[in-house]
């Protein structure tokens, strides 16, 4: 996994609450057996005017000019600003894969669905929680100035606006450590394999029916 420490990134505003994983990556693209390549189909139903299917040449499809991410001023954005309960719905990791492949490294919202939030960290993406009023302020600022960028620093756990306002955010210490160092969870857990084996033996004695 790629490490994440700090970025200064263009912000794209997606002013909707409860954006679900079906919207982030529609199910027809889940048929792929690969991890990569979902970016061109992120938000497919909002982004294009036609119906998308796997295997289509997305560069030839008609884009929806009304969809915010299609506006020229937001091209190259790496920070997604959005509303509460982002990523609700299914556990599909294809959702953070699609966002990451699109170019987002950071999502900022007042809240997230639990599984989506967790999945982001496994893919080198940082989901930041800021209060609804700060998120409101950021939406206003993004709208008001083209090329609006935020400085996101995981080490200091801060988001800094172009005007110099600094907003602190919380992140679990273990997730922060893994993200900053690009650590592979499986490798870390394998270091505890003696403990796992010991637990498994005890567990089997206590509940042998689980091991039939």
């Amino acid at each position: 996994m790629q490490a994440f420490k700090q970025i200064n990134g263009l912000v794209a505003p997606l002013d909707r609450a409860n954006v679900d994983t079906d919207a982030i990556i529609p199910k027809q693209f889940l048929k792929s057996i690969k991890r990569a390549g979902f970016g061109p189909n992120a938000f497919d139903e909002w982004r294009y005017l036609d119906h998308g299917e796997p295997g289509m040449d997305n560069s030839k499809r008609k884009i929806n000019p009304d969809f915010v991410l299609n506006q020229p001023r937001y091209q190259g954005a790496s920070v997604l600003l959005t509303r509460e309960n982002f990523g609700c719905g299914s556990s599909r990791e294809h959702a953070p894969w699609a966002l990451e492949d699109y170019g987002f490294k950071v999502v900022i919202a007042p809240s997230y669905a639990d599984i989506f939030y967790n999945n982001c960290f496994k893919n080198g993406m940082l989901p930041i929680i800021l209060s609804p009023s700060i998120v409101d302020t950021l939406f206003t600022q993004v709208d008001a100035s083209a090329g609006y960028q935020l400085d996101v620093n995981l080490e200091t756990q801060t988001v800094t606006t172009p005007g110099g306002e600094v907003y602190a955010f919380e992140v679990d210490a273990f997730r922060k450590h893994c993200l900053m160092n690009g650590l592979d969870d499986i490798g870390l857990t394998m270091q505890q394999q003696d403990k796992i084996k010991l637990f498994e033996q005890k567990h089997q004695l206590a509940q042998p029916w689980l091991f039939n």
Binding site: D20, K31, S32, C88, E93, N118, M190, I196, W209
Partner: protein, 469 residues
């Protein structure tokens, strides 16, 4: 110290815990074709093995056709779907994983077959790369959906890295009215607390109305815990749980059975256990529910109307509702029973078990779907549910009433296979999500119980099943 059911289950599986992060042991890993290929590939690339292959049960369900399967996997017309199912078959063969293949009589939706086989047992930790894994919490198990990275993690280490959730008790006391089902309870709860109401929580459903539910009703309820934002939903073990589990293929036998039952009887919250939050509902107040919008929280009783903007609690919700009106092609204050539908879907991991099919068939018996209904699908949750339904003659009732009787799978719940809505079509669906595009791009989904779906199919519009003749 007094513990909640969640705390008992979590504590019983902690391998190691440090600074609020725990490594917990996973007893059962359910696998399907959509969220597993990248995990198997990851194992292969890192040259890792499965920690305990016997903990895994695999089945293809999301992509499989519900029509004729006599040509086997080779007969799946969409080549990308076919490859995904073939990939699961190959991975299971390579890694020695038990799989119920597409044409196995036991094949079905992963959350239907786990309990049906006794592969889901009380006290277990159960995971699957699918958010509706919360279903299995109905057995007094700790069960939740995981992403593909975690699927790979569990395959390689038999463990998950977890933080403890907060605990939410949802108490439903009293008796449900006739024609009011577990689905209506689930939707009423989501209507009350919202789709983010359970974020960060594990929900325990309790109270006399919950204890009165069958195991299948309890699965329906726990299935939709995720639609309230909670990864895990659960219900204490009682005699109904134990009776259901007894004698199933993977259930413990002989002397192990009595030892297991003795342990399972401890799987309930202690009387003075403390929950972080408690929410109460009165069972008698719950009506048959119908969603009107694009989120399961946009729901009202069958007597209700599409709410107007002045009822929205804030600007964000107002904007949400305005988009939902437009997408759903509905106006504020429209009476729910005046909404006409085009298609009906009875199925999904929420409502495709035998009791669901019996309830829908009881409504449909001797009648016919309305002329405006283009398609009414009944998709059993598993091959065994299908066989049981056929032995009771339910298939004949449905077919005579104009429904199509299909092969088991996820089908039009998420429309990954050929079963889908066309743009603008309106569907009464027994599934779990009414998100934009969920059942097909531009499709309009209204979530209801199986009885309500069957009644809507006959009437051509939503109708109160309690008074529908």
């Amino acid at each position: 110290m007094a513990k909640t059911l969640y705390e008992k289950l979590f504590d019983a599986h902690v391998v190691h815990e440090e600074n609020g992060t725990a490594l917990i042991y996973i007893d059962r890993h359910l696998v399907h074709e959509v969220t597993s290929p990248q995990a198997f590939e990851g194992l292969k690339l890192a040259n890792r093995k499965l920690w305990r292959a016997a903990s895994i049960l695999a089945v293809p369900d999301h992509n499989v056709p519900t029509t004729d399967r006599s040509a086997g996997v080779a007969g799946i017309s969409d080549p990308i779907s076919r490859l995904q199912v073939q990939t699961l078959d190959e991975n299971c063969a390579t890694y020695g994983v038990t799989e119920f293949k597409m044409n196995d009589a036991r094949q079905g939706i992963v959350h239907v077959i786990g309990p049906e086989q006794g592969a889901t047992l009380p006290g277990m930790t159960v995971v699957c790369g699918d958010s509706h894994t919360s279903t299995h919490g109905a057995f007094g198990a700790l069960a939740h959906g995981i992403g593909t990275s975690e699927v790979e993690h569990v395959m390689a280490t038999q463990c998950l890295v977890q933080k403890r959730s907060k605990t939410l008790q949802v108490l439903v006391e009293g008796e449900l009215g006739l024609g009011v089902t577990a689905k209506d309870v689930a939707l009423a709860i989501i209507g009350k607390i919202g789709t983010a109401g359970g974020n960060g929580f594990a929900i325990e459903f309790a109270g006399s109305a919950i204890r009165g539910l069958s195991m299948e009703g309890r699965m329906t309820l726990c299935n939709m815990a995720i639609e309230a934002g909670a990864r895990a939903g659960m219900i204490a073990v009682d005699e109904i749980t134990i009776d259901y589990v007894k004698g199933r293929p993977f259930s413990p036998k002989a002397e192990l059975w009595s030892a297991a039952v003795a342990y399972w009887r401890t799987l309930h919250s202690d009387p003075d256990a403390k929950f972080d939050t408690i929410v109460s509902l009165n069972a008698a107040d719950i009506q048959p529910q119908v969603t009107w919008g694009t989120s399961p929280e946009m729901v009202v009783g069958i007597d209700g109307r599409v709410p107007s903007l002045d009822m929205a609690k804030n600007e964000v919700q107002r904007a949400d509702w305005e988009r939902a009106y437009a997408y759903m092609g509905l106006e504020a204050n429209t009476a729910i029973n005046a909404i006409n539908i085009d298609k009906v879907f009875i199925g999904s991991c929420t409502n495709s078990r035998i009791e669901d099919l019996r309830a829908a068939a009881a409504v449909a018996k001797g009648k016919h779907i309305a002329p405006n209904i283009k398609l009414a699908l009944v998709v059993p949750g598993s091959g065994l549910v299908k066989a049981q339904a056929e032995s009771e003659g339910l298939d004949k009732i449905f077919i005579a009433a104009g429904f199509e009787w299909r092969e088991p799978g996820c089908s039009m719940c998420l429309a990954m296979n050929a079963d889908r809505l066309e743009a603008g079509e309106r569907c009464a669906s027994t599934s779990n999500r009414n998100f934009e595009g969920r059942q097909g791009q531009g499709g309009r989904t209204h979530l209801v119980s199986p009885q309500m779906a069957a009644a809507a199919a006959l009437a051509g519009h939503f109708v109160d099943v309690r008074t529908f003749n």
